[in-house]
Symmetry: C2
Subunit: 94 residues, 2 copies
């Protein structure tokens, strides 16, 4: 299993739009083969910090995910709403 | 529910010691009231990046956690093995 944490800082005026686009991404991604869980989180102390925590069966599932039409269409829109680059880490359980 | 992501960068020579201390922290923390899950992860591409992902019932459980003897004893030791401060975010599900 691979766990991904993808943390972004969204421009304050774009928070609602970001959540709206992200919601579609969440719904479509959960239907993908190899997606164990895929959830969106907001920092309790700073609503501009919005993070995906994702669990995938293997790298093959992630490779397919980043080519899926919902990913290709929505992720660039999310990036445009952010203040800075997304911080992405791929993890294995220790 | 509150999800915590606590990301640290460990000095290369300290990685094994960090995991050893962290393992005790994981075992003891999982016994705590209000702890839903508590897991340790290592970045697939950089083993110096070690991250806790934690799920807690509420803030009260977190307040008790940071006062627990295993936390008070082990966390300062973990910090001493790191290159930099831990990046901690407390999240709610969107």
């Amino acid at each position: 299993m691979i766990t991904i944490v993808a943390k972004g800082v969204v421009k304050e005026e774009n928070i609602n739009k970001f959540k709206e686009y992200a919601q579609t991404l969440v719904e479509e991604t959960r239907k993908e083969k190899g997606c164990i869980s895929y959830n969106l989180y907001e920092d309790i102390n700073d609503p501009k910090i919005i993070t995906f925590i994702e669990e995938w069966e293997d790298q093959e599932a992630i490779d397919a995910h980043v080519k899926a039409s919902h990913f290709v269409e929505i992720v660039p829109k999310l990036r445009d709403l952010q203040e800075s680059e997304t911080e992405v880490n791929l993890y294995k359980r220790v």
